[in-house]
Symmetry: D4
Subunit: 254 residues, 8 copies
């Protein structure tokens, strides 16, 4: 099965095979697994290979392990983000084939390999210090089946480094621009390309950066067209949205 349950239901309505009201009943009956502290939402991941995702922060290690184990039984791919060292150890013990990326702070369990897109997502960072966010984005985009290229450290202070990579960027279907401090790189790239730009402000900086606020506000008020923004340090969210865009064509074709 290559489509999500929800999509199949809605297509059934469209074709007149089902009434919209019945669809809502089905929505209510969509599978989720209640393990007490968490209600695992299964219906999105039923497509083979599409990963379940666990946001690892703000939960106890015990809770994450419970969720992970419940998911393992479904034979899905599983991506865990914002993983502490301790949690990585605990889950690796349970499931030795999980891949731990200590810079991205992710764990990835790949039960089935998802086919890779032909078009690609390019991830660009302004500095070396933005790499943890970029790695989170890269791991996520890969786990969602995208071809990904990562270009690090081409911030505007030495803009010739960006020019040297411009051909690679324009060849992508969507670009993720990751920058802290004044976040100017998003505007500069959006002025040079005509593909969608998803900007990720990072908390890299100090003083008037106010934990990423400076980059966030700068990206939101970009004078260049076509920039949309996600939360500070949200590499996962940028990759998820980029993957939706990158998959649009393929799905339409099917």
């Amino acid at each position: 099965m290559n489509k999500s349950t929800i999509q199949l239901i809605l297509e059934a309505i469209e074709k007149g095979e089902m009434r919209a009201g019945d669809a809502l009943i089905k929505l209510k009956d969509l599978p989720f697994t209640d393990i007490g502290h968490t209600k695992i939402d299964n219906h999105r991941s039923l497509r083979s290979g599409h990963p379940e995702v666990i946001y690892g922060e703000h939960k106890t290690a015990r809770q994450v392990v419970d969720i992970f184990q419940a998911m393992l039984t479904k034979q899905s791919n599983i991506l865990v983000t914002r993983v502490s060292e301790q949690l990585a150890v605990m889950i690796t013990e349970i499931c030795p084939s999980v891949i731990h990326n200590p810079i991205a702070h992710t764990l990835f369990y790949e039960h089935d390999r998802l086919p890779e897109t032909t078009s690609s997502i390019v991830i660009v960072t302004a500095g070396t210090a933005d790499l943890p966010v970029a790695e989170e984005a890269r791991v996520t985009a890969r786990a969602l089946g995208n071809k990904v290229t990562l270009i690090a450290d081409v911030g505007v202070a030495g803009i010739h480094r960006l020019f040297a990579c411009l051909d690679v960027i324009r060849d992508a279907r969507v670009v993720i621009v990751i920058a802290g401090m004044e976040g100017a790189l998003a505007s500069v790239i959006a002025g040079l390309v005509e593909i969608p730009v998803i900007a990720v402000p990072t908390s890299v900086g100090y003083g008037a950066s106010f934990g990423g606020l400076s980059a966030l506000l700068a990206m939101l008020t970009s004078c260049a067209n076509g920039v949309t923004v996600v939360n500070i340090d949200n590499g996962f969210g940028a990759a998820f949205a980029a993957s939706q865009i990158n998959h649009l064509e393929l799905e339409k074709k099917s």
Copy 2:
């Protein structure tokens, strides 16, 4: 005695048995116990079973222990919130029958069991990570004599999980909605039920959550009617207000 001293005084005024001025004198003479660093306000807890409450944060462990011991001599129920591990150990040594809830960060000493209300408070969380706040609310509401149901992890990203619990929520007399990040769950529930909704923003989130500010502002500006809001992470306060509402009918009847 089932009523608070202050209530009896004020009723006496109402019945013409006492002049308002005399009531104020009595207010001034209301019992409190001065233990140097703290003036314990006893008059609210004189009703059998109604707990004394100690807010455990920002005080030294020594001070909390002093207050706890002074209260023990009054044979009240005692609820301590925001309890550190160290404090939990210190008080359990003094009073082994105290119940420690490590997720809620509470201690509860139940000298007399309070009768439980027939109507209930439902506590709903958007995510697993909101559970510490929800548990603080649950323990508090129970300690104040309420029937309580806790529903975890029904945030709007998978709204069908909420629909599956809607019957339980609408059966309550008041609902506490606990959510971090964008706090949208409060608006959605308030649009679906006609009972009072007390919203608790949590500090769950990162970046533009700014320690719970995003959820707080969202809940305050809810487009749905009937939402009132308490401080970020204030599970105790939400439960206290909910308990006041849940007890209104019973007290009127007596």
Copy 3:
């Protein structure tokens, strides 16, 4: 019909007369009137006398008039809040029996008189300048069928004025406390009564009031128990929540 459609549907589920899934279909089929720029949600106001509400700000006068006229055809009571002088004139021309309260900035069209509750809501303001918000709350609470008392100008700078009104406040089922500047009145009243306190910060003040932020933060961080808070200047919202609480007993009785 005295109950809302949604309530009847949900009760049918409870009694086993309808499946929850069918209820969701009906939710989807709930009546709303689409007039292009607005989708008027009729299902809440079908109970005789319960007013339709139009929030008058940020809409063009033309849009509000359209909505008002569409509602008039349903023979509901209609409450319009945040009404400009110009809008008041336009609607009064269409519907001369509408009542304009220029301090509350409200219009009220009362097609059927709602029965008044026996228990009351008390509205208290810290200063004279808080009266527009208090009047919005009073008009709303009255339109929702509540007995209401308004006590103005008893702020903490002259606390004896509050003591002189304490008996009236404690006799209510719920109290709305409206204050700008430092908003201390909410904490003081919540420390003296045992009924729910709904606090409304106002934008009255200057400088470090920052448009009501000082009162808002103060009310959210109140050291007194039982305080819940609504948005700055939201007299309507406070009255709506208070009315829900004030009607709880009556509905349970039925």
Copy 4:
């Protein structure tokens, strides 16, 4: 000519027909028209029908008129946003065939009609008051050659209104969600669809809305995946990004 100059140049590099360095020289020599106070960037609009865009705010009416007239000579389509009443009059005198949308505050001069996409952009608003932003988005998306549908007033306070439109939304290639106050609609829709969601916070609201800050933070911290965000009230920017996404397939096909 159907492609932008910049695209042609870069494709030439890709094909080995031009060295990257030569491309940069050409970038430098890209056409712009210097009219003193403004350097009009022509190279993006050389494709027939693609509009020139003038941001009308913060410029004097005189400056906007100068820019408009300079663009007229190029026989491009011209879109002016954030247009005051006075400016609309001035430009209509110069160019009577310009179309003024007083709700969107836009002017549009269509020299050549751009072919419309087969896939569509859906624009959804939470309330009536969000319509000016939605209209700006609609006019922009249309001017950029997109098929557009606008659904107004389906905010979460009456969520059944949203369910009634869900089929239309899921049929689009990308959805723009426009909401003020607590901005919850973006999260709810993103939880129900699998297409990219571009969220536009609006300044609709008061008090703790802080000019759109509440909706902005809520949208940035959305618990639903796939949401990206633009500046407060930036209907233009959302439509521009949506158009880029909506055109991806078509361009790849060519």
Copy 5:
């Protein structure tokens, strides 16, 4: 010598014994001891008993010790505030007669006992958790030669505790009110007394307290007259200003 050098100089001008210009030369030549990282300003402490003050935070322990030792040679009284445990140990080794107050985080070396004022400063706290700030104020006021009374834990949630202490407060010459959270106590006391009220917001609280901001804004916007405010947690500053006021009469008499 009982007067400061600067005062003597300025009195000389007043009496015509010195030209203002000459005073400025002397100002420039006022004694300070340069120990490299610090220029110790001696001229204020030349009066017997008036303490030198070292702000202990943000300096290295080594720097504080250097300054302390340089001051010891002048035989002044010395007050060190914001002292870490480590620093307390280091200085006690050098100067065993120093008095360490671990709640106030102060060290005091009293070379000469300052005569105590007949009129007194009263320090009042809203809660037990405000005691560290209150103790810093008490130690400072004592070190500056004032009679001081400290009343703890009389916050507005149990206002009868305040009434029981009102006589003591009104007997003082100046009152320092210390409160976190909503900081309402300052307004309530200022409404009940006619002496100057110096308000100290504390960082006690959580969530919307924003590190003391809620109390700070509340105190600045107090509706009661006669309240002035110092920085969050600035017990030292409040005591210093209170001491200036408390000494006014005595100095005029001399």
Copy 6:
């Protein structure tokens, strides 16, 4: 009668002539005049000459006139602050002997002249633009019976202007320092004098002044001892607190 009722009551307690409890009854029975929208607090102004004060902003002109007229019947002095031009005209018509200060935005009706203090308050401004706040302070201090001197435009950018006035400042009993922008003058003066400094930040400035926030924060974090702060633009409040300090000695003597 030269003392306030509240003071007499409290002195009676002190002398053992009255029990504290009886005092509280009397507090409750303190005179206030209820004119519907306002409860005029008379007990402070019973001393001959001490003015009633009306804060004129945020009230309707009609309300202020009502309050003014009610006060006139008591033969008190009356000070109205934050007076609009329109209000000034309305009240002058009612009471032609009222004095309007259009820079201070005050009205003053002097029924009895208050005796002037021998010691003085000095008011210092950093710039010409701070004069409205300074005039409000001057008029208030005068109305409260103080000798006052006003020194304008001695900001730190030309510090020699300050030195030329230093003798006058140091001769005062208390100094009010009024400054916008960076508010540095308060720190500089507090470093040069040994009398209490009350700092008033003003909203003079633009950009990063954020309506007076820059000066407010600067004054709160002053490195000089003895500075206390009032709200932005609160000339009245500074003068009230300064007058309390300036009268301390006189009252003690009586």
Copy 7:
């Protein structure tokens, strides 16, 4: 006389011709003209041609006229900034030879022409809407005797426009970069040149620009070296600092 009084005094100290103390006396005796509401600081403008400067905002038109007239008598050049239309008319009537720049909101009276520097200041703006700030900077820099070039509308959204002007910028001694919104232009230019960059954030923008805050924070956190920042919209301040830098060499040579 070509040097300021203060400079001559200080040089005399350096040469041993005067004691530092005497210099301070002289500082105190530096000329200023007291016209009541303002103390005009003359000593900086005694050099022929160096203008007196009046900041025109927040003062009454009457006050500005008074100051202007007092300065006219000194035969100085006079620059007035932040001039309203009404003020421009009033001063032009008094002094018809004054030059009014309605975009810069300046008035300039040039009694003596200052010699122009050989090296130049370049002023660059990101957009047309930044021109009022740029013009204020240009007029100021000219009035201070600098050669100035203004390049408008080269923001990063069309970066090839910047490259076309790069030669002019690098030829200057100092560059002022003026940008609103995300303020990225400052970082990009600082990465391309090796001269000092003074960045001026402007209030151009909306929504998350928060009145220039986004550009301000971005410029302060620039990843490019050599950027210093002035207040939002402070064209005058940037020009003043740039002029100091531009004159350094010349003065050293003399």
Copy 8:
């Protein structure tokens, strides 16, 4: 070679020896070393002695070591800022001749000694606690070849300490003023000297300092002319800008 590559290229254009377009190609071909996580920008440091700079924060120690080693092979001087103790040890092991300044948190490897300027930069701090920022500035300015003088602890609370150093300050070509808390020192110094003032706000302070925000806003809104500001605690940036100014004359002469 004494000039940067970029400068030589641009001068070639100026002299007509190269076309601007060719310069841009060369810009693109400027040397940088790609070591995976970082693209080291070499072209600025090719001048003998000019240091490479590594910002040490937010990178892993491993990444910094990699960059350092790659730079060592170029035989440049290398300055590392924001160095942790652990990193200092790691790099010292690799390169024992590196100089570690533990107060400045810098490492400096001096391969070639840069000639020192004849004119000097003076660095002034308000307090002892500002020394880490001042030391970072001093080390940076020295590494860039400047004569530097550091004056510590002359804050405005004891302004006579400043007067005693005024001669040294005025003798410099540019002054860096470093202050936390209210940051008043920048305004006071800028009012006394006529050289450029670069102000560095520091995070020294507590409460309303908000991590340096108070000093930052104060410096940005300085009433004194000629002040420009860098980020909070950015001693490096201030020194870099100061060095640019200090070298202007020398380079012009060559």
